[in-house]
Symmetry: C2
DNA sequence: TCTATTGCGACTATTCTAGTCCTGTTTTCC
DNA sequence: GGAAAACAGGACTAGAATAGTCGCAATAGA
């Protein structure tokens, strides 16, 4: 069973690419090639990141994408939630009324705790951390 | 995005049912009715639990299922892994060789840490705990 | 104006999940 | 022995979700 989806993986890769090429603009084509991502798919991914305000886009010839925020201010949690929405352990909490068994469900509280732990951990990692980690393996 | 699948949810419900009706045998039909689970689907779920050794089955008329282990020895982690396999944050670790980018992936270690945290937490909750929690809401 | 590039919605393909069905085997009871 | 009540297990199907593609409009620079 997998928690992180493909588009999230791609999205993070793209962000790392942008953060690493500090300030310079990169076109979707460039990112796609360097990060091994189908270009059309990447377009959609970048669009989400733009709407979320993590990335800036520039249309037209010589256009492309660049980071809209300081990479130290972008957390992995934010990236994940941008790409695949809030991650829930179980459906209990989703939908309007959730599970009708909720009041007697012995699991709900436990699932909630896990969700919080995950979120807390992912909130602690920033885009800058990822870039640094990558640089570290270069030497 | 959802982490816990339907069959896992059902499987745990079935186990709680069995643990609560201490020692007595219950047929798939009984469990299905009381727990609101499609019976044919439940059959397959119980089979997995049997193969894993968490549940004992008894064929023939008057047959049914009963717990094979002390509910204090069965953890939620075990139930989850029985139903949906080891839960991985990302594909990186699955498949034989995993992701070719692994050696330079700034995320792999982080995903691993999250996986461990989740596993540790779920390992700390037993079937007995769930039953107790359920009993608590009765009063 | 021509070209490179993003924006966006519609569409398709593939995979995964949930659920069903059918046939066989075992056991109990009459 | 035979019928009935159960589990065993594999094949199959429907539907949802994910991944990926395509086409066209809008924009900006040369």
């Amino acid at each position: 069973m997998e928690v992180i989806r493909r588009n999230t993986e791609y999205g993070i890769r793209a962000l790392v690419h942008l953060a690493a090429s500090h300030e310079k603009m990169a076109s979707a084509g460039e990112i796609a090639e360097s990060q091994d991502i189908p270009i059309d798919f990447l377009q959609k991914i970048l669009q989400r990141l733009v709407r979320r305000g993590i990335v800036k886009s520039h249309r037209g010839s010589q256009g492309g994408f660049s980071l809209a925020k300081d990479p130290r201010q972008v957390t992995v949690l934010e990236m994940v939630e941008t790409m695949q929405g809030k991650l829930a352990m179980n459906k209990c909490f989703l939908g309007k009324d959730g599970c009708p068994r909720a009041p007697r469900c012995p699991l709900k509280q436990n699932w909630l705790s896990v969700e919080e732990k995950i979120a807390e951990f992912l909130r602690g990692i920033t885009l800058q951390d990822l870039v640094d980690q990558l640089r570290g393996t270069d030497s």
